[in-house]
């Protein structure tokens, strides 16, 4: 006789949910707690190094969206001088192909991720805006040297036990929790 339909399955299921009542919640309370993102994060917008860029436009060619606008003129040392380097991050899909394609490491993905704007126009980034600054740091995507210098990503998989048994108040809030590797 199979013990279906007698409510055994329901009882088992209820036991599972009851057990979860005493487990640490997995919620990360975002604006206060922030996780460390991957070192290879393809974060918002690009970082462009004007000194390394030769204006070869390989990035523009590799962009699936045709999203990088680059205009150059020949300078006095028989080099290209970049007049215009414009990226519409509203149309960018952050595939990272331009960064991979750049032969001179003059382009990197950004590491930040809070870049919402109020106007579409503000999403179009010019040459000046794309340069390295305090808020615009490069990520290690396709740039091993930068990657090595960034902090390790915090992983959810290590959060259950090693941080382990986190002493939480019943409601799970009072204690400030650290999280990460």
């Amino acid at each position: 006789m199979k013990f279906e339909r007698y409510g055994i399955g329901i009882a088992k299921g209820m036991a599972v949910t009851f057990k979860h009542l005493f487990r640490a919640p997995i919620t990360v309370q975002y604006p206060e707690e922030k996780l460390i993102v991957s070192r290879r994060i393809r974060g918002n917008e690009l970082v462009w190094y004007p000194d390394k860029c030769t204006g070869c436009a390989t990035c523009a060619k590799s962009c699936p969206q045709g999203n990088i606008e680059i205009a150059t003129h020949v300078g006095d040392k028989n080099n290209y001088v970049v007049d215009k380097f414009e990226v519409d991050t509203g149309r960018c899909m952050f595939c990272g192909l331009c960064v991979e394609a750049c032969p001179f490491d003059a382009l990197a993905m950004g590491i930040s991720y809070e870049r919402a704007q109020h106007r579409r126009k503000q999403l179009v980034l010019s040459k000046e805006e794309l340069q390295l600054s305090d808020v615009r740091q490069p990520s290690g995507y396709a740039r091993p040297r930068i990657e090595a210098s960034l902090p390790k990503q915090s992983l959810l998989i290590y959060w259950d036990k090693e941080e382990g048994g986190q002493k939480l108040s019943w409601l799970g809030l009072s204690k400030k929790r650290g999280r990460g590797v």
């Binding site: 329901i10 299921g13 009851f18 979860h20 919620t27 409601l171 799970g172 809030l173």
Partner: protein, 369 residues
């Protein structure tokens, strides 16, 4: 004599008769309403936090300590929303429906005993009153679903009627068992007669009543009226603003009312050692609601035909048999120790549940079209 009547008597000696009747009544209603609305707010918070913890997340925790003011913020948000009335709706009924859903819920609390003499009116037919009043909100739900001129709403309304009518019967029959044991229809008498909680004396009756009420207050796994994954929100799909707030409050008020009634009928109400009666009642109500939330967080929803089958094939016959058993016990066993009755009833409950579970087939249910 309840506290209210005593108050009225005392006031009657100094004030004219009509004032002495009305003023205490209003005071009583305000006190009870205050309690109920506070509890409803607490319930909303309690359910959200509890559901959060069942689902390994936190639940609202931003507003106030542990998020206790979140329901208030929700209320403010809902109240500030635009009141949308569909163009082709039946305006009057659309307007009236939330009221009809909400008011009976509040009326139930007239007969809930909060303490030994703390009850608004000690009706001698209190139980009958509860049954009668609580089913009125089905009408409101049907009106809401019908008037909003929405197909999801209509499906929900039709489900509502079927569900309410079906589950009313086992619920009433389960209550009858309690009434037989207590020997009275009055809520205070029922509480007073529970030296041993009726939960132990009538386990089967409790299960039937509990499931029936869960179905009547449309909570998972019987939440077919709202069934957000099928008919989106059912009857209140076209409601917003204050009217939606009425439904929302009505839903939690219903949950509170039924939790109170379950606590009163089966968990010996306000009775308990040491702590004041009102605290005991709140504890028991919270415990009942905990189980309801727990079920909600675990169980998938039944289908409409399975829901009906469960009521008519499962709960109703069991409730009838339970009633006969209880009647026989009250006739012949009441002289002997009640613990024998407890044992016998648990055995009967187990046997009946096992027997009836044979009736149900799992799955299937295709209709040839």
């Amino acid at each position: 004599m309840t506290l209210l009547e005593q108050f009225q008597l005392w006031l009657g000696s100094i004030w004219p008769g009509w004032a002495a009747y009305i003023v205490p009544a209003i005071v009583g209603i305000v006190v009870v309403l205050g309690f109920v609305l506070t509890m409803v707010i607490v319930f909303i918070w309690y359910e959200r936090r509890l559901l959060g913890r069942f689902q390994v997340r936190l639940g609202p925790n931003r507003l106030g300590p542990e998020g206790i003011f979140q329901p208030i913020a929700t209320a403010v948000k809902i109240l500030l929303k635009e009141d949308i009335v569909p163009t082709k709706s039946d305006k009057v009924i659309h307007w009236l429906a939330p009221v009809i859903v909400f008011v009976p819920v509040l009326m139930i609390f007239a007969v809930v005993p909060f303490g030994e003499r703390a009850i608004l009116t000690d009706l001698n037919v209190g139980v009958v009153y509860v049954v009668a009043i609580s089913s009125i909100s089905a009408v409101g739900i049907y009106m809401a679903g019908w008037a909003s001129n929405n197909k999801y709403g209509l499906i929900s309304a039709l489900r509502a009627v079927a569900q309410m009518v079906s589950y009313e019967l086992p619920v009433v029959l389960a209550i009858l068992g309690v009434v037989l044991m207590a020997g009275s229809l009055s809520m205070t008498q029922i509480v007073a007669s529970q030296k041993i909680p009726f939960l132990l004396l009538q386990p089967l009756g409790f299960v039937i009543f509990f499931l029936g009420t869960v179905a009547e207050m449309n909570r998972s796994p019987f939440d077919l009226l709202e069934a957000d994954s099928e008919i989106v929100a059912g009857y209140h799909i076209e409601y917003s603003g204050m009217k939606f707030a009425m439904f929302y409050l009505g839903e939690y008020g219903h949950a509170l009312a039924y939790s109170c009634i379950i606590a009163t009928l089966f968990l010996s109400g306000w009775q308990g050692p040491l702590l004041p009666p009102i605290i005991w009642l709140v504890i028991k109500v919270m415990a009942v609601f905990f189980v309801i939330v727990w079920m909600r967080s675990t169980l998938p929803r039944l289908r409409v035909d399975q829901l009906m089958a469960f009521a008519w094939k499962g709960l109703l016959p069991m409730a009838i048999i339970n009633l006969f058993i209880v009647a026989a016990e009250v006739l012949w066993l009441s002289e002997i120790t009640p613990w024998l009755m407890v044992a016998v009833n648990f055995v009967f409950a187990g046997v009946l549940v096992l027997l009836w579970s044979k009736l149900f087939t799992l799955g299937g249910g295709r209709v040839e079209v």
